[in-house]
């Protein structure tokens, strides 16, 4: 769907993506969301059916609204290394790294992926726009930062048959792409950059292309995937998959430190359980001193996985230290019944010292049963993440299904 001709932003604030013409046509239930200034599909048919395309076949998801920045210049590597918590000097050309970046206090501003496109050129994919922060972070570095969200259309192709679909689509050598690797391909004159990345914790790829090629790529992928069960999915299905994969999401599991109004709502990577992303030995980076202090002192709370008794998702549940429900020790940030694991899973922010693996806590769950609310105290155990991690997500070359 092209933008309605002549509708200015004050009458139509949200942009269509280059795929909207197709996605809107395929949408059966008219369920859309606002995502970073775009309208995208939340549910095409039902979230459950779409979810199973991720875990069983191939799902196609319009990723265009993901905020993208081009970061280029002789100081790009130094700039990024000072910006984010991981060591970007170690990131090789043609590779992708997941990372977070913090403010001075060591609190997370956003998480995202960094693509090393060349020696001095990177792409930063973020959940939110932050040119303001990035440009201030660039003071003193020889680097140019431009938002390129509108210049690049993006699709996520995820699921066990996704590699097979790519091959059918005409991407030669797709099977050789390792996790977090980037490849550049030309298929019938369509230039596509493919990264073996995703937000589902399954085998999958993300495809990056010029907006003018977007519909052609979509159509050919749908045709190529026909016999492999390809199906367009909306954000709800993706959200189920990402919780199973233990991935965190901005404004669900944490709030950007650039946006919090109240004191004490910011979260550090250590609190989010992302210690493995923080490289204290690479030299200075934003928030390092504060994080070092926090590490020495020990975190006050941590985001953990919960295995909750029963089968009722613990949405928004408060967490208590015991079944009496007197001592509040945290709350659930994301929760679903996992259709694949057949477990009632949740991500929860829990105070020290209750967050260690194996610890038992209690979740206060409210159930709406035919308009009558019932309260349940459910036993829950702190467990390791991810909840679901199939081998196929890492195997290179992947199997065909």
């Amino acid at each position: 769907m092209q933008p309605l001709p002549g509708k200015p932003h004050f009458l139509q604030p949200l942009l269509p993506t280059p795929f909207s013409e197709r996605t809107h046509a395929l949408s059966q239930v008219d369920s859309f969301i606002q995502w970073s200034g775009y309208t995208t599909v939340d549910v095409f048919t039902t979230a459950e059916q779409e979810y199973f395309a991720i875990r069983n076949a191939t799902s196609l998801y319009d990723l265009t609204p993901m905020v993208k920045y081009r970061i280029a210049g002789s100081g790009a590597e130094r700039f990024l290394n000072r910006l984010v918590t991981r060591n970007i000097a170690k990131l090789k050309e043609g590779r992708v790294a997941y990372t977070v970046w913090c403010n001075d206090a060591g609190h997370v501003i956003d998480d995202g992926t960094i693509f090393r496109m060349g020696a001095e050129e990177f792409r930063l994919c973020a959940q939110e726009r932050q040119l303001d922060w990035l440009r201030d972070a660039a003071i003193g570095f020889d680097v140019a930062i431009d938002e390129i969200t509108e210049e690049i259309a993006a699709l996520a192709l995820q699921g066990p048959t996704s590699c097979a679909v790519l091959k059918e689509f005409g991407v030669r050598g797709a099977e050789r792409l390792k996790p977090f690797e980037i490849g550049r391909f030309t298929v019938d004159g369509l230039e596509i950059t493919i990264s073996r990345t995703g937000f589902t914790g399954d085998l999958g790829y993300e495809l990056w292309m010029a907006p003018r090629d977007a519909l052609a790529v979509w159509d050919r992928l749908m045709a190529a995937g026909k016999s492999r069960g390809i199906r367009p999915i909306g954000s709800q299905a993706l959200d189920m998959a990402r919780i199973e994969a233990g991935f965190i999401m901005l404004n669900h599991d944490f709030v950007s430190a650039e946006h919090t109004i109240r004191a004490g709502r910011d979260r550090s990577p250590l609190e989010l359980g992302l210690d493995w992303l923080v490289d204290f030995n690479k030299g200075h980076f934003n928030g390092r001193r504060a994080l070092l202090t926090e590490k020495q002192r020990g975190v006050r709370r941590r985001l953990v996985g919960l295995d909750v008794a029963g089968n009722k998702p613990a949405h928004n549940a408060l967490i208590y230290s015991d079944h009496t429900g007197i001592k509040e020790i945290g709350s659930v940030t994301s929760a679903i019944w996992s259709p694949t694991c057949k477990r009632n899973i949740a991500l929860a922010m829990i105070d020290a010292p209750h967050f260690d693996i194996g610890h038992t806590v209690w979740a206060e769950i409210y159930l709406n049963r035919e308009l009558v609310w019932e309260r349940r105290m459910a036993r829950a155990q702190v467990v390791d993440k991810p909840f679901f991690a199939p081998e196929r997500r890492r195997a290179t070359p992947p199997a065909d299904f």
């Binding site: 200015p8 932003h9 004050f10 009458l11 604030p13 949200l14 606002q34 200034g37 001075d104 206090a105 726009r129 932050q130 040119l131 303001d132 440009r135 938002e147 650039e258 946006h259 919090t260 109004i261 109240r262 004191a263 004490g264």
Partner: protein
């Protein structure tokens, strides 16, 4: 609605409390006292109530909010406790706002976050995103200050338990912000709006648009330290928890005081209009009542003045009842006329070529000052005793949203003008104030300024009321026509407002209180001073609020 003296056969002379002035704060205080069971009399000099919150018909079929024109600061607690919605008050939010630029461009503000981002992004992509940081920081300050509005400031020099407790409360709240934000707060309260905005934005038009509220009603320029606070003062309001939202009162600003009066009268209160107070009467060093200009006297053990401090103590009280040092401080209290107002009846909606057709931003505040420098130069004119040659104006056409303000197809426009001096350097100000030629020249400056952005504006004018600070003083009774009853500078805020040592609504004379905007937390149609004063009175009378 109001009972005037002449229609009352045997007027009651003795009340528990008398309130001098039926402005919004006087009426709020009156309501709370009546609610606590006191017999309360409100005396108003004009033939109509409302003070600076009035709706007036000065041209047939048009309603002018001819003084205050925006309703955002009125505390929701007061609206709820006094049941103002039931008494007819309804507040409708603005749908946007805009600044028209000299080069034909514009910047608009929209409620929708994405529309706003794309709009600011037309001027600077970075500023569009910095806006989130800006509103976050303003919101953080609002959250810190909001609870303080409805509290009496402590006296930092006092060792009384109440003052010490209140200081500790302040310290605790401040401390609760965390180290970094405490420093931010110190800076925020003391810096200039221009410097503050420089820390967020790069685009001149974006800075100019937001700087506007830092000068409204104040005799400072956007580069004067302390104006960042004034900016916040205008943002402190909230409509249904949307902090910073501005709105119209349906039926004009008089709807606010009308609802207050109805609430008051339902509680058994009495209002006399056309009853100007000549003197606050004292006996043995305590307030006992008031005498009207016609000689009538009313008696009460509590007299509360809704007038500003200069009017209260220099014109309505006897100097010998007041300590010299206090009088000196009252004379030193800064109440400066810096704003004018035009109320215009229009034959139709003016064209504004700068604004794209269909953009809702004209249903909010419109401006024509596109740089901070322009604003600062406007202030320089005022310092020299002239009205600004290129004034900052805050104009609204409420009749677009509120059909009660003007006949169908016609429109009422409210134009607030910054800066306009009380005294002109060249000639005026005499006993008779501004003469008609000067007043007209001032009005023409404003009308020409608007006409530069609207080709058919002048042709549409049916009637224009031009109000200089001198006119506002004469009609409303505000000294120098200052809309805040006193500058909102650091030396006149919190425990310094209005006079150090007298920030808790009491005066040196027992039984005489203040409840106007001269007191904490200051001006704007907020109602907090009235509420806080009533609580102080009831506390002193050992009655629960």
């Amino acid at each position: 609605m109001t009972a005037s003296l002449s229609t009352t056969a045997a007027p009651q002379r003795r009340f528990d409390a008398i309130i001098v002035g039926a402005g919004h704060n006087g009426l709020v205080a009156a309501c709370y006292l009546a609610k606590a069971g006191l017999s309360v009399l409100v005396l108003e000099r004009n033939d109509y109530i409302g003070g600076a919150a009035v709706s007036r018909q000065l041209y047939p079929e048009f309603t002018y909010s001819n003084c205050s024109y925006v309703c955002s600061l009125l505390r929701p607690e007061i609206m709820r406790e006094l049941e103002l919605p039931r008494h007819g008050l309804q507040i409708i939010p603005y749908e946007g706002g805009c600044t028209m630029m000299r080069d034909g461009g514009h910047l608009a503000l929209y409620d929708n976050h994405d529309a706003l981002r794309r709009e600011i992004g037309r001027h600077s992509k970075r500023d569009a995103e910095a806006y989130d940081r800006y509103s976050r920081d303003v919101m953080r300050q609002c959250k810190f200050i909001k609870p303080l509005l409805m509290r009496s400031p402590p006296d930092p020099t006092s060792f009384k338990p109440r003052d010490i407790m209140e200081l500790l409360y302040l310290a605790k709240r401040f401390n609760g912000m965390g180290e970094e934000r405490m420093y931010d707060t110190i800076r925020f309260w003391t810096m200039s709006a221009a410097d503050f905005l420089d820390e967020y934005f790069e685009s001149e038009i974006v800075k100019a648009h937001f700087a506007g509220s830092s000068i409204i009603g104040t005799a400072l320029g956007p580069r004067s330290p302390g104006t960042a606070y004034v900016l916040l003062h205008h943002y402190m309001g909230d409509i249904d928890d949307a902090v910073g939202a501005w709105g119209f009162a349906r039926g004009g600003m008089g709807a606010v005081t009308k609802a207050l009066a109805a609430s008051f009268q339902e509680k058994g209160g009495t209002i006399h209009t056309g009853a100007g107070v000549e003197r606050i009467l004292t006996r043995n060093g305590r307030g006992v009542g008031v005498a009207l200009t016609d000689g009538t006297e009313f008696y009460a053990r509590t007299v509360i003045s809704n007038m500003d401090v200069k009017r209260t103590f220099l014109q309505t009280m006897d100097a010998k009842d007041l300590p010299d040092e206090f009088l000196r401080q009252v004379r030193n209290f800064k109440i400066r006329g810096s704003s004018g107002k035009l109320n215009i009846a229009l034959d139709g909606l003016p064209e504004v070529p700068a604004i794209p057709k269909g953009a809702p931003c004209t249903r909010g505040d419109m401006h024509v000052t596109d740089t901070i420098e322009m604003m600062e130069r406007a202030y320089d004119d005022w310092k020299d005793g002239f009205w600004s040659r290129a004034p900052y104006i805050d104009m609204l056409i409420p009749s677009q949203i509120d059909p009660t303000m003007a006949p169908d197809g016609k429109h009422y426009m409210s134009v607030f003008v910054q800066y306009c001096p009380y005294r002109l350097a060249n000639g005026a100000p005499t006993e008779t104030g501004w003469d008609d030629t000067q007043r007209k020249a001032f009005g023409d400056t404003v009308i020409d300024t608007i006409a530069r952005h609207s080709p058919n504006f002048k042709d549409l004018i049916l009637h224009a009321e031009i109000r200089t600070p001198w006119d506002i003083e004469r009609e409303v009774g505000l000294t120098e026509g200052n809309i805040f009853q006193g500058e909102l500078t650091m030396d006149q805020l919190l425990f310094n407002r209005p006079i150090p040592g007298y920030a808790q609504y009491r005066t040196p004379v027992k039984g005489v209180y203040m409840c106007g905007s001269s007191t904490h937390p200051g001006g704007g149609v907020m109602g907090a001073p009235g509420h806080n004063a009533a609580r102080q009175v009831l506390g002193d009378l050992r009655l629960a609020a």
